[in-house]
Amino acid sequence: MSGPALRRVGKLTLRLAITYALLYAAWLPIQGGYVRLLSDSASRVLSLTENPPIITGLSPSGNTIKLESYVSGRRAPIASWNAENIHIFVVASLALVLSFPAGGWRRMAVRVFGSVLVVFLYTLTLTVVQLRTVAGGYAAGHQGLNLYTPSQVAFLDWANRGLIMVGMLLLPTFLFLTSYMSSWARERWTAPATRTSPETHRPGKVQKPPREWKALALVAAAGAALLAFLLTPPQDATFEEVREGLERIVALNPGSPDAYFALGLFLEDGKRPSEALASYEMALRLNPQMIAPRFNQGNIHSVRGDFAEAVRCYQEVIRLNPRHVSALNNLGFALFKQGLYDQAAEAYGQALEIDERHASTHKNLGETLLLLERRCEALVHLQRSAELDYGFSADRRLQARIERLKGECGESREIVPAAVRAKN
């Protein structure tokens, strides 16, 4: 082996190590910004590629990206993806590119811009694939739902493994080899020319600058256009799109009560009560022990004014879970609306036995006791509701009523026993 060759390899290795260390140090403070850029771009890509949309929002925080989805029926954060390891692909690749002399800053700028563009596109693709994988994993792990068809899952798995392999091996190798080749070819072509015809070649004028400027402008324009496209904020998913997505999840999971419940919840929030009731009914057929769909059915009936049906739903919920405070409170309300004040007061009392700090139950019980002409007991609960809830304390009508009752009954002292008395 020749000495100069080994010296060149040694020099190259040393330059690579120093460049890697410097780039890594420079990377640390900008990683958060890069993750934010990836998150915004991935949001745009997902809005274009997911039809119907499953991931409806991304929010970066430091090195992690939080995913939002409506898979549970309401748009909410479901999981997060840690982008900390993205530096491996960025720093290693760029260090390999920067380690070779390019023969002028313009050439180096073209090389660096081009490489940054390639690395960014690669990391963006990886981010999109991994975010979809995380969403699928979350739904499978927490709700037992499949978000994707078996062929989509297989494709995501293949793409994930392939991209990691590409990022770990092929991308740095490719950038390294092309940089090496570029330096090699430049030396090969320029050295003999400058030696053989010194009179016709001035040093540093081997290539016409305009070509490099053109390349630089082309790469910069491509990068700017890409960023402008990617950073255009995507439109929020429409009601129909989300509905389509949830219906697709139902179709992929026909035996899952959770899928029907999520669809029902979304339809209920979207003011489609009849369709929501049907979805909840399907969920209950698949799992009669489910409480939430029955409770929500009660709420829909209550809002529609069908209080008898609402009472039936709430009683079923309480049969399954006797300590369901909201069901007891809502049962009391449905009974109250039917004029069954004694039974309503009893339901409210049961709710307060379980949770004495339930402000709206105190208020409801207070109102019911007023109608039952148990005014001083009513005062205790109305006062307590105002203590527990700022909204109630700011309610002038409630305050006026409390003041009036105070005039009749004096300052109330007992609170908890009053609830018990209400029950009796």
């Binding site: 390899v9 392999m165 091996l169 092929l170 190798t173 570029s182 070819a185 090969r188 015809s197 016709t200």
Partner: protein, 191 residues
């Protein structure tokens, strides 16, 4: 026609045209190398992903890796092997397709074949480089088994981050050595 040429040459225009050609040559050689390299990687990726390749290439290579690694690990502790699985001091691992060294080997091979050089130089690259890369992979398997046995918490990190980067770096080091030692001293690139 010749008059015009002469007059342009006399004004000093010819050297500029000459340098433009040289510039285009540099770029086209680089682009041709990059495209050939990617094409070869794609071809090898398709070829090595088939069921036949798994039967005739990956599995024998995995078994060979285990066959060589087990006695070497036996020097340092209790090592045993079975098919493509290897155990060292209670830590077991399966040598799968991604760990048999085929991927870095065909990336290296693509780089050697795509690089503008003569056939004999390419042959040297293959003869020298492929065994070197499989040796690197063997060292990787042995050290990973040791890390797994002695520092199991570090295994995943070393497996994914340290050795992946090292495989790239060492494969490229082998390639650069080949390019610098076997190709550079020769004449202009063969293509």
């Amino acid at each position: 026609m010749s008059k015009a040429r002469l007059s342009r040459k006399n004004r000093g225009a010819a050297p500029r045209a000459d340098s433009e050609l040289r510039g285009r040559g540099t770029t086209s050689v680089s682009i041709r190398f990059a495209l050939t390299f990617l094409f070869l990687v794609l071809v090898f990726a398709i070829l090595t992903a088939s069921a036949t390749a798994d039967r005739r290439l990956h599995q024998p290579l995995s078994r060979l890796t285990v066959f060589i690694a087990a006695p070497i690990l036996g020097i340092f502790g209790a090592a045993s092997r079975s098919g493509t699985s290897i155990t060292f001091n209670g830590f077991s691992a399966l040598i799968v397709e991604a760990c048999d060294g085929v991927l870095p080997a065909y990336i290296y091979l693509s780089a050697v074949l795509a690089f503008p050089s003569r056939m004999d130089q390419k042959l040297w690259g293959i003869v020298m480089g492929i065994p070197a890369i499989f040796t690197i992979n063997l060292i990787r398997v042995i050290t990973l088994m040791m890390v797994g046995a002695y520092w199991p918490d570090l295994f995943e990190r070393v497996h994914i981050y340290v050795w992946q980067a090292l495989v790239v770096a060492l494969s490229m080091a082998v390639w650069v050595l080949w390019a610098e030692v076997f190709v550079r001293p020769g004449a202009a690139p063969g293509r």
